[in-house]
């Protein structure tokens, strides 16, 4: 069955000292830190699902579980019929701080995933070059990351993830480290890319506007341990980038609803 199914995923960090409320008190030993509690949702093909919630609600941990970088204590994530237990060639991730390899050029970074999958050099060069051009960096193939602005670095991060042609693209606050205008432009381009590439995406963010603007469905998480407390399917005029979504009354209403939930939970 196509799509991503997340089925009652729970996760706790063993004996985390941060959770040790009674470290110096009467309690003995350290306590487990429960970060995710029975998370369930599904992502259909071509859908972008957003996860929003207060800091520390386990959203990044969930994303790492979906990437196969962490394992769930209970429950499972299933992509296109097979369980995600380790990193897979059909799952790619974009990181908040880009995580580009400083010793590789733009092209080398974009090639990385293909190289790990043993794609022959001429083919992976060609594919990487195409992706570099797609994210608007043609001409910068031989630059090193430190020579690029944050926005350009994240374009490389996006190209690196898309280069392996993943079935599922995971985005961990991808525009959180960028200035407003740059982030806004990249959001627009992500939607344009999506209109062509039609990937399944899971976007973790703490930016309510971003979640509403980009996602077909938004899940609002409670504070730790994270649970899904609200599920929203925003319906806005398409294509979204061609309209001033932020001015749509529905947008304002949904934003207020989410904000009350997130802020209320944090207070």
């Amino acid at each position: 069955m196509p799509g991503l199914r997340v089925d009652r995923v729970s996760k706790a960090f063993r004996g985390s000292p941060a959770a040790g409320a009674g470290r110096n008190g009467g309690e003995t030993g350290r306590r487990d830190l429960r970060v995710l509690h029975e998370i369930s949702f599904a992502v259909q093909p071509e859908q972008i699902v957003g996860i929003i919630g207060p800091s520390g609600c386990g959203k990044t941990t969930l994303l790492k579980i979906l990437a196969g970088l962490e394992t769930a204590d209970a429950g499972a994530a299933t992509l296109n019929g097979s369980a995600v237990t380790r990193p897979r060639p059909d799952i790619a991730i974009v990181f908040q701080l880009f995580n580009l390899f400083p010793w590789r050029t733009v092209l080398g970074n974009v090639e990385f995933g293909l190289q790990m999958q043993r794609v022959p050099a001429p083919e992976r060069r060609e594919r990487a070059a195409r992706l570099v051009a797609m994210v608007g960096l043609a001409g910068f193939e031989r630059y090193f990351p430190h020579q690029l602005s944050g926005g350009m670095q994240q374009r490389v991060g996006l190209a690196r993830a898309l280069a392996i042609d993943p079935a599922l693209l995971l985005l961990d606050e991808p525009f959180g480290a960028l200035d407003y205008q740059t982030a806004e432009r990249l959001r627009e381009e992500l939607l344009k890319i999506q209109s062509q590439a039609a990937k399944m995406m899971v976007l973790v963010t703490h930016n309510i506007d971003e979640a509403l603007y980009l996602c077909d469905r938004v899940l609002v998480f409670s504070p730790r341990p994270g649970r899904v407390t609200l599920e929203i399917e925003p319906r806005f005029p398409q294509p979204r980038w061609a309209h001033d979504i932020y001015a749509v009354p529905e947008f304002t209403r949904l934003r207020a609803e989410i904000k009350a939930l997130v802020m209320g939970a944090e207070a």
Partner: protein, 292 residues
């Protein structure tokens, strides 16, 4: 750094509609390639160095007026002596002898030191096992080992090589270790997410990430090795440059001893520059904007 779309026409330049791309263009990227543009080394970089050299020579010249040449020969006499060393005393052959053990000693220390540093970097047990020995090696004056080396290796080439190996080993291990340990989790995690196996993790992450540290280790090791080379030649079988120093020292040929010191330091500066240059080639991503 501004929104001047027409300001920098350069090859391979995308016709970008992205302002962030315009803004981020590093200044040196156009500067280095521009033919007939900025000089390779700006005056601000070499003027202070040249100035201090001139002052040094001047002070030396003035001081030498007050002392007999046997105590302090002037710059001219010293550089004349350096010429004599080449022309009459066969400095080149002594140098070749010295270089030989230097190269062999370093040639053994560099690969083994890097391997051990890597092992210690990736494995806590190895780190704990070799830690005390490294600390001991670091704090022990290596010259104390010379009598031992004589007992073990005699006074010939083997003993000199062993001594150079020992003095240059420490910085190689420690720098490689630091390079591996400095590898940030985000890079290994990213590599893992993109399916890097153990081989790729080593070849494509740890190795390139450690190169700047390893090169720094080689530079330090070279310095130690040159010192060790001369020390060994003065205290073991007296050969090479060390022989010349002892010989001319005994004959109170002050200018020649000074000239030898200058020769060795020039050699040291030259190889250090060579290593720095090779670092730029091996690790171009560490190059920073030089225009500021």
């Amino acid at each position: 750094m501004s929104d001047q779309p027409g300001a920098v026409p350069a090859s391979g330049r995308p016709a970008a509609g992205h302002h962030e791309i315009e803004a981020a263009r590093p200044r040196w990227a156009s500067g280095i390639r521009r033919p007939g543009g900025r000089p390779l080394i700006p005056a601000a970089a070499w003027l202070p160095t040249a100035g201090s050299l001139l002052v040094f020579l001047a002070v030396w010249q003035i001081l030498s007026r007050f002392y007999p040449p046997i105590l302090l020969p002037g710059p001219a006499a010293t550089f004349g002596a350096l010429w004599d060393l080449f022309a009459r005393d066969n400095l080149a052959r002594a140098f070749a002898t010295s270089i030989q053990s230097l190269l062999i000693g370093l040639g053994l220390a560099i690969p083994t030191g890097i391997v051990l540093g890597f092992l210690a970097g990736v494995s806590r047990p190895v780190e704990r096992a070799i830690g005390p020995f490294l600390d001991a090696l670091y704090v022990t004056p290596k010259i104390m080992l010379i009598p031992l080396f004589i007992i073990w290796f005699g006074v010939g080439t083997e003993a000199r090589i062993a001594y150079i190996f020992v003095v240059s080993y420490f910085p190689l291990v420690v720098n490689t270790f630091a390079g591996v340990r400095s590898m940030r989790d985000e890079f290994t995690e990213t590599a893992r997410a993109f399916l890097a196996g153990p081989l790729e993790m080593f070849r494509d992450v740890y190795l390139p990430g450690s190169i700047p540290f390893i090169v720094a280790g080689i530079r330090l090791a070279l310095g130690h090795a040159i010192v060790g080379m001369i020390t060994a030649e003065m205290f073991l079988a007296i050969v090479g440059l060390g022989y010349m120093v002892v010989n001319f020292g005994n004959r109170l040929a002050t200018a020649k001893v000074l000239a030898l010191a200058i020769f060795v330091s020039l050699f040291g500066v030259a190889v250090t520059e060579l290593v720095k240059w090779s670092e730029h080639r091996l690790a171009p991503w560490t190059r920073r904007d030089t225009s500021s």
